[in-house]
């Protein structure tokens, strides 16, 4: 996937998101500390926030172009979104959550429910209510729901941030399966070097609303077990 985000400007009070980049990759990480603008960027890509200026395209599919007065509303973008709190619909069963976006997917691109359920091991959960799921099960159901709408792009906003280390290491293989099995490109927001290294092929480093650099994960982090950021990452401009 070629992701273009040109001359993007979004002001929220004193905070200014200013992004101008083009990047190619299957799973692109967006890495940075809290307040760097990662979630804001995802929300602009999803069409949930409207920026004052900018151009966003996935390959040749233009999502917004303010100079041409083009703005696709979220339901027309074909962009799946898994927020940090997952936002599963609490009044619907697991099956109804999964099928919510399924009917909107075109027949040719439609991802099969049974296939997704098998890959993410949620077949036995379909008739449960959301309140009956554990943290890890909720995570997998949220991934499955986004996948079943057959998006062109999946946006993952720190989906593992609320999990402990043990559960995290159990969920990461499912994300790898999604990457490898369904071949749907992802923008993966995280401030965990471990997740970024395991899942992403390219990483955008953000700070104070700006893109500092674009790298391969192995260029960003020390290869030691500490997974610390290499010195100078935040200092270097692209």
């Amino acid at each position: 996937m070629r992701f273009q985000c040109r001359r993007l400007q979004l002001r929220q009070g004193a905070f200014l998101l200013q992004v101008d980049l083009e990047i190619t990759g299957q799973v692109i990480g967006i890495f940075g500390s809290s307040g760097a603008g990662k979630t804001s960027l995802l929300e602009v890509v999803a069409g949930l926030r409207r920026s004052a200026a900018g151009f966003i395209a996935l390959d040749d599919h233009v999502l917004m172009d303010t100079s041409a007065r083009k703005f696709l509303v979220p339901e027309q973008r074909g962009v799946g979104y898994v927020p940090q709190d997952l936002a599963l619909f609490p009044h619907l069963s697991v099956r109804k959550n999964l099928l919510y976006g399924h009917s909107h997917a075109t027949l040719s691109s439609r991802v099969d429910l049974n296939h997704v359920a098998v890959v993410l091991e949620i077949e036995s959960l379909l008739d449960r209510s959301i309140s009956q799921l554990s943290g890890g099960q909720k995570q997998r159901v949220a991934f499955a729901r986004a996948l079943l709408a057959s998006p062109r792009l999946l946006l993952m906003d720190e989906p593992l941030a609320s999990l402990d280390q043990e559960l995290k290491s159990k969920i990461i293989p499912y994300l790898k399966r999604i990457r490898d099995e369904f071949q749907i490109p992802m923008l993966y927001v995280s401030h965990s070097p471990e997740e970024v290294t395991q899942l992403c092929d390219r990483v955008i480093v953000m700070r104070d609303g700006k893109c500092l650099r674009i790298s391969r994960p192995e260029e960003l982090f020390e290869a030691s077990t500490s997974m610390a950021l290499k010195p100078g990452v935040y200092d270097s401009e692209r």
């Binding site: 929300e43 999803a46 069409g47 949930l48 509303v73 979220p74 339901e75 973008r77 962009v79 799946g80 979104y81 927020p83 709190d85 936002a87 619909f89 609490p90 009044h91 919510y100 976006g101 009917s103 909107h104 997917a105 729901r145 986004a146 709408a149 998006p151 946006l155």
Partner: protein, 223 residues
């Protein structure tokens, strides 16, 4: 209890039900706009809606009388357009109840909408749902308990409405006398026993309405 008493109770229940039904769609729509959207004049509308909560009910009644009376702008319009007179009829009772109970409905339903995580609606949009589908399949079902509670509170408030009603609809036996007004009249006439009968009925109705609201909330919470 006489047939006249039954008529008073029937008129009270009927007008309170009708006023609740009339304000419900407007109250829900306004509550949603206040909870979810930013628009010019929002603060002014918020204040206007809350006014009947803090103003003396008789003062609200006077405003209604001015607007709906034979020389009032709305009264003249309704008279010319439909040949309908409002003041000192059962319609004035409904109008007074509607105005006085509207803030209760809007505040309760607004809270219900505000409690819904907006990300649920955002995610539904990214799953391909139009704003209307998001509203009907996500927002409304999740706000159901709040909407029922709001309607019950509005109904209970309408049952007890007195100050605005007596000013705009008066106390015309068989036509505009509702329970609260009947209690006042009975006390004025020294018929305390009769007033206590209406007091008992009012208390039972209000108790039943609030009990229903609480039970419904519990049932909804346990789903």
């Amino acid at each position: 209890m006489t047939t006249d008493d039954a008529q008073v109770i029937g008129l009270t229940l009927g007008t309170a039900t009708l006023s609740t039904l009339i304000i419900f769609p407007f109250g829900v729509a306004l509550a949603w706009l206040l909870a979810r959207k930013e628009w010019p004049g929002k603060s002014l509308v918020e204040t206007l809606v809350a006014l009947p909560l803090v103003m003396p009910p008789v003062a609200t009644g006077l405003i209604l009388l001015t607007l709906l009376g034979r020389r009032g702008p709305i009264g003249v319009f309704l008279q010319n357009a439909f040949g309908t007179e409002i003041v000192f009829t059962w319609k004035a009772v409904v109008a007074a109840m509607a105005v006085m109970s509207f803030p209760f409905l809007v505040r309760t339903v607004r809270l219900a909408f505000e409690e819904i995580n907006p990300r649920l609606e955002h995610v539904a949009r990214t799953l391909g749902a139009s704003p209307l589908r998001v509203f009907t399949t996500i927002t409304l079902p999740l706000a159901t308990r709040g909407m029922v509670a709001g309607a019950v509170w509005a109904f209970a408030r309408a049952l007890g409405e007195f100050g605005a009603t007596v000013l705009v609809a008066g106390d015309i036996p068989g036509r505009t006398t509702v329970m609260s007004v009947a209690i006042y009249s009975d006390i004025q006439l020294g018929d305390d026993g009769h007033a206590y009968q209406f007091l008992g009925v009012s208390a039972v109705l209000a108790f039943a309405a609030i009990l229903f609201s609480n039970q419904f909330s519990r049932w909804g919470g346990a789903r």
